[in-house]
């Protein structure tokens, strides 16, 4: 049943400084409320146990897509719609646009944010695999200062992350070194939209002289967190793409992920489809 609203508190600090001050004053007392598309589902179901929220929706420091020489930074409040509309994102980071297009429906794309998707920490979230491929870095800010953390080190276990209770995720930084990657994004689900992924796969690679010079593989819904499959990447690096390589890579991938049976799918299916996605990616890589 829907939670009782008067039990909740929502504050809207005027500035980032005010927000951080509040977080620092009462560590663990306040949590960010961005687009609310994850939080409101919990509220409606009566499962939102935390009671005090800080609306960050209007904080300018957390907004906008900024293009610098060597990187692009996205405010944590960047919505899926904004990702799809941005010219640089479309050109250099197509995986993120592909993920955004397949996230929820139009309303969710207008309201849901990348920051919320990251901090909500669902292993089935759809933009994290893309962020992993692009070697994204997170900018985490508190009154103690600002730190930059490789996204790959952010999720430490199911819904566990490398973030302190007084920190806000302010920006996501993407190095502009991946524009020439051949990319592949595929969300597999029971229906064409509004389905939580059974498996989500994002990949990028660069070929040199018929050999794989650079390869990045990331998967969602196959482990307690989204994962970058570094051992499989290692195995593929400097290889030509042939049947033997594909077979070895498939086998390696299947040892690197640990999917489970749940209401949405089976572990068997997820293992096989993850391997099939990799094979499909390699096939396309070879033929382009």
């Amino acid at each position: 049943m829907r939670a009782y609203l008067p039990d909740y508190e929502l504050r809207a600090p005027r500035s980032l400084t005010d927000a951080l001050a509040l977080l620092a004053r009462e560590p663990g007392g306040w949590r960010a409320f961005a687009g609310g598309t994850d939080l409101m589902v919990l509220l409606e179901a009566g499962l939102l146990t935390h009671r005090k929220f800080l609306s960050i929706w209007h904080l300018p420091e957390l907004k906008g897509i900024e293009v610098a020489n060597d990187h692009v930074t996205l405010g944590a409040l960047t919505t899926y719609t904004e990702v799809q509309r941005d010219e640089t994102m479309r050109r250099e980071f197509p995986l993120l646009g592909a993920a955004a297009r397949e996230t929820g429906g139009i309303a969710i794309q207008n309201r849901g944010t990348l920051g919320g998707n990251i901090v909500n920490a669902s292993p089935a979230a759809d933009s994290p695999p893309a962020l992993l491929v692009y070697d994204a870095e997170l900018e985490l800010v508190s009154t103690r200062g600002t730190r930059l953390l490789p996204y790959r080190e952010f999720h430490t276990g199911y819904k566990q992350m490398n973030m302190q209770s007084d920190e806000l995720l302010t920006r996501i930084r993407l190095p502009r070194t991946t524009g020439d990657l051949k990319t592949y994004y595929r969300k597999v689900g029971t229906r064409k939209a509004q389905a939580i992924s059974k498996v989500c796969f994002a990949a990028g690679a660069r070929m040199n002289d018929g050999r794989i010079a650079d390869v990045r593989l990331a998967l969602g819904s196959v482990a307690p967190t989204v994962v970058r499959c570094t051992q499989t990447e290692e195995l593929l690096r400097n290889q030509t793409i042939d049947e033997a390589t594909t077979k070895a890579a498939r086998e390696m991938l299947m040892t690197e992920i640990t999917p489970i049976d749940d209401m949405r799918s089976t572990a068997d299916y997820r293992l096989n489809v993850a391997a099939n996605l990799l094979a499909d990616f390699l096939r396309q890589l070879k033929h382009t």
Binding site: R186, R191, K192, A193, I196, R264, N276, A279
Partner: protein
């Protein structure tokens, strides 16, 4: 007047508006928010009720602690079995469309299923009510639930009642000898899961008492059923209860029964002495408003080399609740669809700790035809025969069950037109033989059938002194287009344009109509509207003929025609006058005609059914097992098409629901706890727009005077009947993998490897 005298084909007269794709007359109200649904009638002093559901699936309530809940400001009442007023059970009468869920709520501490209502909280605001409800503490004596049909199958029992009007075990000819004579056999088990209706509008009730008079605003398919149930439950005369339902936001069967929240809303209003609004949650709808029962169906077909069926056996299990009996009549259509001398049907029930299942769009046909039409497809492959050809070889020229002639049956035409539209000839017979790039391509088809059900119903038509007309009946518009189609029927007889006809429905102060179920509404109520319009018009004609000042004075009635709001001589249009003139001169405010349809089904001389042929094309991704329906054709004989647009929309809705059934819909019950796992629309998947291809729907021209006086056969349900089987057969054709257990999810299809 009886229905018989009324059987002139109506299309021969009138303004030709029937059949036209008239836009919904209530469309504007709907898109502007002007259409009032049950929960949207304001009342002074309205209080809110919230239902609390059991968190166990089997056992007893030990006690409640309501102390914290009572302290919430604004709380008016907390009603449990310990303090509930006495509510009387409603005897179900199948002829009344099964007016009530039989178990009376809050009369005992026994828990039969998870989510069963155990308390109602009433407070001043919705928020207070929800808060108080969340604070009610309950202790239980929990017992392990029966929540797995497989585990309980040893306790299967024969239904006490009939299965769609037939004994649970029936035999025609002898299936043993039939099977012995067969050259080829199919012998398989097919399974369909529990499914939920999921209309957009939740069930909602507003109850207002005035002394011992009760007004109920309810989201329902059956206003008179609600009236009857409330009168019985509260021991007041039927006339004291008025039920109003102007619009129903989808139903698909779940609003045909008066579920216990309705009497709980009325009880809450009585206890709190306030008008009470109660809107159920989506989660509550999964537990308490019925569902399509899970089935396990064993189908055995025997056939000669030429494909002639020598035997059909259709038997198996479905579930019911532990306190009530509902049989999902999956063998229903198998009795009559194909010509076969040897037929056996047998159904058993397994009782589970769940709410009672109920009718859901084409109950019986939908699950049964998945099994039968899949089995026929399997037989076609074994015989190396085209699936359509196999169905033609076994085409029934008369009803094999009742031996009656068909009233009309354009099924051959459905196959032919469907095959043409769909491009069936391009299909290569072998499974896995067609590809489109990376995708495996498959084409499949299935037959659809649904019986003609008509119920006695009444309507009143009043031609007004301003030349307009009012049509009245207590029937319902479930989003199906009742307002629009009844407008067209009245227009046709009265010779008026649609904007001059107002249809008023959904109120027990109006002439009685039965449950809007079984695809019966247009046939039944439409026929009474036509009769009432004729009666009203006849009175108008009489008035004109009898009036010396009328240009029609003395003309014989059969020489007078009505069109454009005028009566005039057939032979001389100039000799006539407007309705307005006739009434004004006579000093009359209106003329009124009433009509009661009665269908004498006991002495039926014909067997009446709607028919269809459905064709699906799928593309299957061999690496991921994703199935996409990329084309769909459905050709139907629904008798006379009353409105091409709403008629096609019904077929499309049915087909979309069938695609959902084939590929995604499934309610998951936790077999240990008896809880529903996916009781929301995030995890209970129905197709989204992107899953639905262009749907090619053809409605054949027909006028079935034996089916109903207006020539219609009924359209609400047939669209779904063969859809799931057509998709499943296409998936087999694409992949060579036969999934006999719906839904055909990616994991089932892919198994442990790839399809490539």
């Amino acid at each position: 007047m009886s229905a018989k005298q009324n059987q002139r084909p109506a299309s021969k007269q009138g303004s030709g508006v029937v059949g036209q794709p008239l836009n919904r007359v209530d469309g504007r109200l709907k898109v502007t928010g002007g259409a009032r649904f049950a929960a949207e009638f304001p009342h002074d002093q309205m209080a809110y009720a919230v239902l609390i559901g059991s968190t166990i699936a089997n056992g007893r309530i030990k006690g409640f602690d309501t102390s914290a809940a009572k302290r919430v400001p604004g709380v008016l009442a907390i009603i449990t079995h310990e303090n509930a007023p006495k509510l009387r059970p409603v005897a179900t009468n199948p002829a009344e469309g099964d007016a009530a869920g039989r178990r009376v709520p809050l009369q005992s501490p026994v828990i039969y299923y998870h989510g069963q209502y155990i308390a109602v909280v009433v407070a001043e605001t919705l928020e207070q009510t929800q808060q108080a409800a969340a604070l009610v503490r309950v202790s239980y004596d929990e017992q392990p639930p029966a929540a797995d049909m497989e585990r309980e199958r040893g306790k299967a029992y024969p239904p006490k009642g009939k299965v769609a009007g037939k004994p649970a075990d029936t035999m025609r000819g002898n299936t043993d000898t039939g099977l012995a004579a067969a050259n080829v056999r199919v012998d398989e088990i097919y399974r369909t899961p529990t499914e939920h209706h999921n209309p957009m509008e939740p069930h909602a009730t507003i109850a207002v008492w005035d002394g011992d008079k009760l007004t109920i605003y309810d989201a329902t398919q059956y206003t008179y059923g609600v009236r009857h149930a409330m009168a019985t439950t509260f021991g007041v005369p039927e006339e004291n209860v008025r039920c109003i339902c102007k619009f129903t936001g989808g139903a698909f069967g779940c609003k045909g029964t008066v579920w216990s929240h309705v009497s709980l809303a009325a009880a809450a209003a009585r206890v709190a002495r306030r008008p009470v609004k109660l809107v159920t949650t989506r989660q509550q709808m999964f537990s308490n408003m019925g569902h399509r029962a899970e089935t396990e169906q064993h189908v055995v077909l025997g056939a000669t080399r030429a494909g002639k069926l020598t035997a059909i056996v259709h038997e198996g299990l479905s579930h019911t609740s532990t306190f009530d009996e509902y049989v999902e009549p999956f063998s229903k259509a198998t009795h009559m669809l194909y010509a076969c001398d040897n037929f056996k049907a047998s159904q058993r029930l397994v009782a589970l700790n769940v709410g009672t299942p109920t009718y859901m769009r084409a109950p019986g046909e939908t699950s049964g035809m998945f099994a039968l039409e899949s089995a026929l497809d399997e037989l076609a492959y074994k015989l190396n025969l085209d699936p359509i050809q196999l169905r033609l070889v076994n085409y029934a020229d008369t009803d094999p069950d009742t031996k009656l002639p068909w009233s009309t049956k354009l099924l051959k035409e459905c196959y032919r037109t469907g095959a043409e539209h769909f491009g069936w000839a391009r299909r290569k017979p072998a499974p896995r033989s067609m590809r489109d790039g990376r995708y495996l391509l498959g084409l499949g088809m299935a037959t659809a059938v649904y019986p003609v059900n008509h119920f006695p119903s009444s309507a009143r038509v009043r031609i007004q002194s301003d030349g307009s007309a009012i049509v009245e009946s207590s029937t319902h518009d479930l989003g199906t287009g009742t307002y629009t189609v009844l407008t067209q029927i009245a227009c046709e007889t009265l010779g008026l344009p649609p904007e001059r006809v107002e249809v008023i429905i959904g109120d027990t102060n109006l002439p009685k109509a039965m449950v809007s179920g079984g695809s019966s509404t247009v046939m039944s109520v439409g026929s009474s509207v036509q009769g009432a319009a004729r009666a009203a018009l006849a009175k108008l004609v009489e008035t004109a003929r009898a009036d010396t000042r009328s240009p029609l004075y003395g003309a014989s009635a059969d020489q007078i025609v009505a069109s454009d709001g005028r009566l005039a001589l057939k032979s001389n249009d100039a000799r006539g006058e407007t309705y307005r003139d006739t009434l004004a001169r006579a000093g009359m405010k209106e003329v009124e005609g009433s009509y009661d349809t009665e269908f004498n089904d006991k002495e039926k001389k014909f067997s009446s059914h709607a028919f269809g042929a459905q064709f699906a094309e799928v593309r299957v991704d061999p690496d991921f097992g994703e199935v996409r329906v990329t084309r769909f054709t459905g050709v139907f004989d629904i008798g006379r098409v009353m409105n091409m647009k709403t008629g096609q929309s019904q077929m499309k809705g049915g087909i979309i629901m069938g695609i959902g059934m084939a590929l995604m819909e499934e309610t998951v019950l936790d077999t240990n706890s008896g809880r529903l796992v996916n009781r929301d629309l995030a995890e209970y998947h129905v197709p989204v727009h992107a899953d639905v291809p262009q749907l090619d729907v053809v409605l054949l021209e027909n006028f079935d005077e034996h089916a109903s006086p207006i020539g219609a056969k009924g359209a609400g349900e047939i669209g779904i009947v063969g859809a799931a089987a057509a998709v499943a057969n296409a998936v087999y054709h694409a992949t060579g993998v036969r999934v006999r257990e719906l839904p055909i999810t990616l994991d089932k299809l892919l198994g442990k490897g790839a399809l490539a």
